[in-house]
Every structure is written in C-alpha cells, then in structure tokens.
Chain length 149, copies 4
C-alpha cells in the first residue's frame, strides 16, 4: 500500500500555519485526541491558508458559487495529542488546476514532534455538485501566477 | 498517487454490515454529511464487526489491556449523504497479524450507490502505547483459524 | 434556580423511545460520554418521535419550508454513560402551539438508571428565520387532534 | 418555566473572554452553527478563564485528582452564528464553594449581537466520581480571596 499521506513530497504552491488547542470533547477514553478530529484540524489549516491567500471559503461559496468538497482524504498518525496541548497545522497547497485542488498537512506539537501528516483532494464544483473549472483569476491567485503579464 | 482507499481489493477475513442514519449535526452548510463523519461511521462498522466476532473493543481494552489506535486512515468520497438518509457500512477485516489490524469499508445508501470507500490500519498496543503482538487466541479468532488442531 | 430540566412534569402530547450506543469519539478522557453529546441524543429522540408522528424534519423543511431551530436547551446530568453502552432516549412532545414546539427527554441506561433529563424549546420559523405559526394540519397532528370535526 | 440561562444575573467572581471561529463541520444544513456546539464553546470559555486564574483543568485533573463534570447545562439561543464568523465567549465564574462550581456565558458576534447565553453547574469530584470539597487553596484562588490574612 502506498498511502496518500506518505507520497513523495509535492511542491508547495503556498504554505501557511495555524494553531489550535485540543478541546476536551476532542479527547477520547484513551485520553488522547480522537483521530477523526485531525481531519477537522486539516480543515482549519486549509481555511486559514485560503484566507491568507485572500480567497475565503465563505466568499468562494457565497460570491462565486464554487465549492470544494473533499473527494479524498488520508492521514498517517504517528504520535498522540493530549488534552489542552497546542498543535500546529502546517498546510501546503500543492495543486490548483482544472477541477482539482489538493492540500498536504503536517501536524506538530510544540516541541516539534510530528503527530500526523495528511493529504486532501478536492473537486471544484458548482452549487449543484457539477464539476466546474477553477475561474482563471482564482487559479492564478492560488498558483501564485497572479501577476503574470 | 495510489491512495489507500483504491487499493486492489484485499481478501476479507471477516465481513459485517451495520446501518446508521445521518444525524442533523452531521450535516454541514452544503446540506450533506460532512466528510469527517465518515471516519466515525467506519468506526461504527468495525465496532459492530468486532462485536459479531465476539471481541468487543470494550472488553479488549478493559480485560486484555489491548488497544487498537488508528495509525492510518484514508477515504474516497464519491457521492453525498443527505440528512436522515440510512447509510450502510460494510466492513471487512483484511489483516490481523503481528502488531497490525486492518479494515476496509464501503458506505452505501439504500439504493446501493456507493458513497465512500475507506481503509484504516491499526497498531496493537498496550495501555502505555507500546507495540503488543496480538494474543494467539485473539489472532486465531480474528483470522478465523480458531478451531485449528 | 429552577432549571428547565427539573420543571414539574408537563403533560405529554406524544411519547416515543429510541436507542443508541455510545460511540468511541463520544467518550472523553474521563472515559465517559461527553455531556455535549446528550444534546445530540435529544435530537435523535425528537427526530424519531416526529417520524413516528408522520412528520419527518426532512419533509417539514423541504416540503413545508418550516424549521424548528432550538431556542432553549437544558439538561441535568445524573450519572455517566460509558463507551458502547446502549442508552434509551424517551422523548415527550409537550407543546405544539402558535410558534412554539417543546420536548422533554429522559435518557436511561439498560438497567433503568436515569442518566440525564432535558428539555428543548423550538421556534417555528420559515426559511428566512421569521416566526411562522404551525400550519393547522401539522398542529392538529402534533397535538393529537387530527380527527376533530 | 424559569430556565437557568435567564436567571437574574449572578455576581461574577471572575470574568474572562476568548474567541473562536465557527468551523465548517460545526455548521448544519440550515447554514448556521448547530446549537450543540455552543456547549463546546462554553467549555472553551471556562477552560481559558481557569487558565487565566492559574488553574488549568489538565493540572487539576492530573495533579490534584479533581474533576468538574457538568451536572447541569442550559442555554438560550437568540441569534445564529454563520460559518467562519468570529464569536466571543464571555465567561463568568459565579460560584466556587463546597462541592459546586458554576459558570455563566454570553456568546456574541463581532458587532456585539448576543447569540446565546448559558450556564453550567459542575460537581467537584475525585477520580472515582465521589463528591470532593474544593481544596482550600483552590477555593481561595477561585473566589479571589487568595491573599486573606
């Protein structure tokens, strides 16, 4: 098996970081953050990266009518996060072309230990779920070619 | 990329089905079940399969001191689940040996449409998180070789 | 303080029961179901009661354009629910008139121990959030006066 | 009915504020934050207030063996929070004596609109769930009488 989360590193178009604390209801009876919440933290990561790039999801959905549903998600879990720990999500946008947008993630605790890595792939669709090519302006912004002649 | 969820089919040691309804708080503002909840449904699936095999997680953790934390999770999302829909989780145990247990999943709606497929890989550890080989009796039960001479 | 959840019993217009198992991610590091999930279980309870009455939320929202957002919720927690326990939600519809619908709840474990009681009050609104009187036919169905002359 | 959340204002022993953004999976198909998540935000509020007072939950649980399970929770919901909105939780500690700790909450959006108010009451218990009086030093710190002669 060659899981998505361990793919050879893809080149980042953009990278950003955000932090969050492990919430009490995110812990489980093993005393650690339940693995499902890492996918929520991935979402925090790409939300903040998109905001930094000037393309909030809210605006994309409400103004451009473009949605990015997750079509594939994968994660490797290497170490545990405990209650109230601050975790950092490093998010990289690695693809934004055609009808696909992809992000990779590394989640670390404060001492730098990698807790998890992950990858999500998103379709670009309209409000009815039909594939919709990324608008040119958006694609240029996401790929960093905004100022091309 | 060769994501875990699209791997060539692994042979099932055991298979089971369980159903659940999409809960209101599991929907998001796109009006569909948020993808993070599929990982919870996978967990429902393996919980019920293990119960059918006579090895509930509760008993494993409390009586045998064995835990199966998720070390890898992946899913492909193909179609959406809407509020109050009944979804069926078909879970297959595909590996139970050494310090690894693996399951695959197919989630369908009532008309048979595949909504998602997935795979989780679990470590076998003790209460302190140290790798712990599956006890022989448990491994035999999980691999269906319980009655070997 | 006279919390909602300990009010003198209101007369039930209708009553129903549903069961659910405590899911692993619903547990917290105290090893018990986190209190926030009881409000989700209340929602399961009223969803199933409404279904029994022939008025699913899905149909109300999609066909009648009526929504019942929660305007007040309260719960008393008396005992803990553990992982994988089956809990029963007994739901009573205690009011359905004007622009208000109210339910009360009792959550028990299998031996009959009461784990929690609760109450939710809902506004009847249209798709824009404006107060909307319950349609006569719906009110008659909810109050059991469906066959009035 | 005199719900907890509308009680006459209790005097605050301590007050603190924290903010959070509405996460995508916290929205529901009405497009707004599902009411159950407000109880998680209340928890964020009291977690941060306790941290400001130098008594983190983590330390209380792990070092002092004291837990504060919720025995009563109530909320009034007045307006909706939308995806990605910043909400502020103002938390007041209103009681810390004997075996009870109580907090009240006001959740506002950035323009000052009150979205919800709430109240939680907590028991002080030991690791086995038995009532445990607040240690004197903790009670003095929580009630602000730390420097009494």
């Amino acid at each position: 098996m060659a899981p998505a989360a361990r793919e050879p590193a893809e080149e980042a178009l953009h990278e950003g970081q955000t932090t969050t604390r492990v919430r009490y209801p995110e812990t489980d009876r093993m005393g650690i953050a339940h693995h499902t919440h890492y996918f929520t933290w991935f979402e925090l990561g790409r939300t903040e990266l998109m905001r930094q790039l000037g393309c909030t999801y809210g605006a994309l959905e409400e103004e451009s009518g473009i949605f990015f549903p997750v079509v594939q998600a994968a994660a490797d879990f290497r170490a545990s996060a405990r209650y109230d720990e601050v975790v950092t999500v490093t998010t990289r946008l690695v693809r934004a072309s055609g009808v696909r947008v992809c992000f990779t993630y590394v989640i670390t605790r404060e001492d730098g230990t990698v807790l998890a890595t992950g990858r999500t792939e998103h379709a670009s669709v309209d409000g009815r779920g039909r594939p919709q090519r990324l608008p040119g302006a958006l694609q240029r912004r996401l790929t960093g070619q905004e100022n091309d002649a």
